[in-house]
Structures are given as structure tokens and as C-alpha cells.
């Protein structure tokens, strides 16, 4: 059953996987960062097709808008150039790493993929992704993790400011 949604998902998944392979494969750091930005945008569109609107927008704003901007600033400030294939010493590491990655994919995929063939029973409400539903759940059932996350973000801010100071 080749429905239009399946075709859309296939296109988005192909672009996303290509972008993630591009993150690993490109030699220069800036091209990897731009591939990761493309990957995050594709993921945001995938979240929209899953009817999770709030998380799709949050993905664009938080991941692409804040985290990737941080990455690009660090790459710019540190002036990291392209990696050079200097000698034969670390050629074997790449091949072994690739082989281990293929093995990991086969191990995980062989367990998961046959069980998920008939996986199209939508059992969530139509509006489970709206901000109202998420806010209601976040502030009633998950308020303790919410407070812990705010403490964690405070610790992160203090830590990063401490790391950026020049003199202790």
C-alpha cells in the first residue's frame, strides 16, 4: 500500500539519512554542521507528520536555532579546518569503525524491523501534540521532572559561564 503519506515519509527519511551520513563523512567541520542543520529540519517536518506540532516547532527553535548556532559559533571561533589524511596509521580505524557500525545496524535492525511491519494503528488522540495538551500534562503529572530540568538548566548556565571566564 503505497499511500501518499508513505511516499512523503520515504522522501523525508531518505534526505534525513543522507544528511546524517554527510555529518560523518565530510572532512570539514562546517559542512558537517550544515548537514546537521538540514537533518534537524527534516526531523522537524517528520514530527509535524506525526501530529506533534509543539515538538516540531520546539525542534526548530531549540535544536536548530540555539544548539546549531552554538556549534557554528564555536567552529568559527576555533577556526577548525579540514582534517588531513596524514599517514597510514589511522586508516584501519575508519574501516573497523565502519564495519562495527554496519554490524550494530544489522544487530539492532534484525531484532526490531520484522516486528514493526504492521505498525499503522494510530492510537493517540488527534490533538495530543498541541501546546494545550502538552502544557496540561507537563504541569500536572510531570511537574517534578519539570522543576528538576529547570535546576539542570541553571547548573548548565552557571557551568558554561564558569568555563568561559579567563581568570578564576
Amino acid at each position: 500500500m503505497i499511500t501518499p503519506e508513505f511516499v512523503l515519509f520515504g522522501i523525508l527519511a531518505a534526505v534525513g539519512v543522507a544528511a546524517s551520513v554527510g555529518v560523518v563523512a565530510f572532512n570539514s567541520a562546517i559542512r558537517s554542521a550544515l548537514c546537521l542543520v538540514l537533518n534537524f529540519f527534516v526531523l522537524a517536518v517528520l514530527y509535524f507528520t506525526l501530529n506533534a506540532q509543539f515538538l516540531g516547532i520546539t525542534q526548530v527553535v531549540v535544536y536548530t536555532g540555539a544548539i546549531m548556532v552554538l556549534f557554528l559559533f564555536v567552529i568559527m571561533l576555533l577556526n577548525i579546518g579540514a582534517e588531513h589524511f596524514l599517514n597510514e596509521k589511522f586508516d584501519y580505524k575508519r574501516i573497523v569503525g565502519l564495519a562495527a557500525g554496519v554490524l550494530l545496524f544489522l544487530m539492532v535492525g534484525s531484532q526490531l524491523l520484522p516486528a514493526l511491519q504492521s505498525f499503522n494503528h494510530v492510537s493517540a488522540l488527534g490533538d495530543y501534540g498541541t501546546p494545550q495538551a502538552i502544557g496540561h500534562t507537563l504541569f500536572t503529572e510531570y511537574v517534578i521532572p519539570f522543576e528538576c530540568i529547570s535546576v539542570l538548566l541553571l547548573v548548565g548556565v552557571v557551568g558554561s559561564i564558569l568555563l568561559a571566564k579567563r581568570k578564576m
Binding site: 550494530l104 495530543y128 500534562t137 521532572p145
Partner: protein
């Protein structure tokens, strides 16, 4: 996506790119959480309330993973910049002071 990120963490020597592959793995996990929140395995004896609760639980998990990832990116990039201020080098294979 998770496998690609794991391969990238092992292979690449530039620490900023290693960090980006860690973010790739986190996003793959986010996608898995959301997919299982929406499409759940059909349970004939289960109620509808449990399905709604687990759908919302999946989204909560994704929100918390996003917040944790934002905090660790800030701290991790600060660590990388501090290391580079001291050494002016770009290689993770040379950072072996913790080796026993």
C-alpha cells in the same frame, strides 16, 4: 540514524564533529520516542486512557531529552573551548591524560 551517529563518534577525530554525532544520536532517539508515542502496538484488552497517557509520556520524554541536550551542548562546548585555549590543537586522540 543512531548507528550513523555512533560510527561518527568513534571515527572522527575533531571533537566538535564528535559532539555533533552525539546530537545526531539524541535526535534519533527523540524520533523513536515520538513514533512509538503515536503508533502504539494494538492491545485488545487495554483501555484508551492508558494509550493516551503513554502518548503524552512519549512527548514528555522528548521534551526532557531536548532540554538535557541543550544543557550538555552548552557545557560541552565550554569544555572544548577551554581545552583549545590551553593547547591550540584539534585532535581527540591526543587528549589521553586520563589513560591509566
Amino acid at each position: 540514524m543512531f548507528t550513523v551517529g555512533a560510527v561518527g563518534v568513534v571515527i572522527r577525530r575533531n571533537p566538535v564533529v564528535v559532539f555533533m554525532c552525539i546530537e545526531l544520536m539524541l535526535n534519533a532517539v527523540n524520533l523513536t520516542f515520538l513514533t512509538f508515542a503515536r503508533y502504539q502496538l494494538v492491545n485488545p484488552t487495554g483501555t484508551d486512557i492508558a494509550a493516551q497517557r503513554s502518548a503524552m509520556a512519549g512527548q514528555m520524554m522528548v521534551i526532557f531529552v531536548m532540554a538535557v541536550a541543550a544543557a550538555e551542548v552548552a557545557v560541552g562546548l565550554g569544555i572544548i573551548m577551554t581545552i583549545f585555549r590551553a593547547r591550540h590543537e584539534v585532535d581527540v586522540d591526543d587528549l589521553n591524560l586520563l589513560r591509566g
